[in-house]
Amino acid sequence: MRRSWWKILSIVLLLYCFIGGLFVPLPYQIAYQDSNLYESMRNFFFHVPMWFSQLAMITVSLVYSIKYLGKPTIQSDIYAAEFARTGTVLGCLGLVTGAIWANYTWGTYWNNDPKQIGAAIALLIYVAYFVLRNSMTDIDKRGRVAAVYNIFAYFIYIPMIMILPRLTESLHPGGKGSEGNPGLGGSSLDPAMRAVFWPGVLGWILLATWITTLLLRVRLLEEKKLSR
């Protein structure tokens, strides 16, 4: 956790993604001709990587929850909670960036689009997770019950977020009215955008992990102090 190579890598990748995102030439047809996106398409480099890294954080939290049920150690519980915490913050950011983008392209901040609703649901699920954690004082019980809820909620949430937007008419790309993968704007991503996008995803995931490791170190130290 203390090694710095991946932290430096994350900063480099993020700088690359931000600068590249603002400079890269957008695909003319998709951004300027066929839609009203214009330059706001550049939000793609911010909004979507935040979502990817939120999914990554939540998946890691799930893994630690499963580990906790297999072998109940306080470390697994702390890891699960902190990754979920960072995931929630990233979810908020993703929702806000999406709402700002929506205001310029779809008309209003909130459009009752299935993916937006799915995003809000994810946020509510993890807020409920923290409410559940705080409602219990017994550490073992807290870890176990929170782990069970985390697993249950994840396995209901992920099918929902993957399947629902594809089934119903959605303003996001990939819904009923349009084609392509709902994550990546159109049937395939323009190569220039791809070159900026994927490193950006990796950069955001690394940044989120870095923030989480800082939170973890604080909590583990607190725990060590308490248990002495």
């Binding site: 049920l69 609703i117 799915g118 649901i121 994810a122 509510l124 699920i125 409920a128 409410v131 559940l132 409602s135 219990m136 019980k141 176990r144 019950v145 782990a147 069970v148 809820y149 697993i151 249950f152 909620a153 396995f155 209901i156 949430y157 099918p159 929902m160 399947i163 629902l164 089934l167 119903t168």
Partner: protein
């Protein structure tokens, strides 16, 4: 004249079902005393216990759905074009709602918190299902061509199965005292 129109009727019905479910299912777990839970623990395995609760609550909820459907028709008029279809949808919906809330009630009971916590946890998880149910039951009102009706029904059934499987796998961990 004073009867609500179809969309409102439909929405009201599913919102009422949601509240009925929360209250009906909350009682099943949250009014068990710890002594009785211990007794169950000694005579039945965790899997059997949770399956029994799931099935019982599903049946209870189906009965409640039919009763509330009757009351709705009495009190708010009958805008249904295909009543039998709607009865089917109400049963499926009641079943789906009750499965999710049963497991959440088990979690809330373990946390020794009340129905409020169960509602907080349940609300986000149930929104997608309620949306699907509303979309599905709209077809019973007018001859709306809902292209993906079969997909929606299959998705709901698949979700129910998923919730049951998750509940059966995860409940033994909750059960350990």
């Amino acid at each position: 004249m004073n009867q609500p129109e179809e969309n409102v009727w439909n929405g009201l019905f599913w919102m009422t079902q949601l509240f009925v479910c929360v209250n009906a299912v909350a009682k099943s777990f949250l009014q068990e005393s710890p002594g009785r839970m211990l007794y169950f623990y000694t005579i039945a395995g965790a899997r059997d216990f949770i399956l029994a609760k799931l099935i019982f609550n599903a049946v209870l909820m189906v009965v409640m759905s039919l009763v509330s459907l009757l009351l709705f028709q009495l009190l708010m008029g009958n805008p249904l074009q295909h009543p039998l279809k709607f009865v089917g949808y109400a049963c499926l919906g009641g079943c789906s709602l009750s499965l999710v809330f049963t497991f959440l009630a088990a979690i809330a009971a373990r946390a020794r918190q009340g129905a409020a916590l169960m509602a907080i946890m349940g609300f986000p998880l149930i929104i997608p299902q309620v949306l699907l149910l509303m979309r599905m039951s709209n077809t019973a009102f007018a001859d709306v061509i809902q292209g993906s009706l079969l997909q929606i029904i299959l998705l709901l059934v698949a979700l129910d199965i998923l919730v049951m499987v998750l509940a059966v796998i995860l409940f033994p961990f909750l059960w350990k005292d």
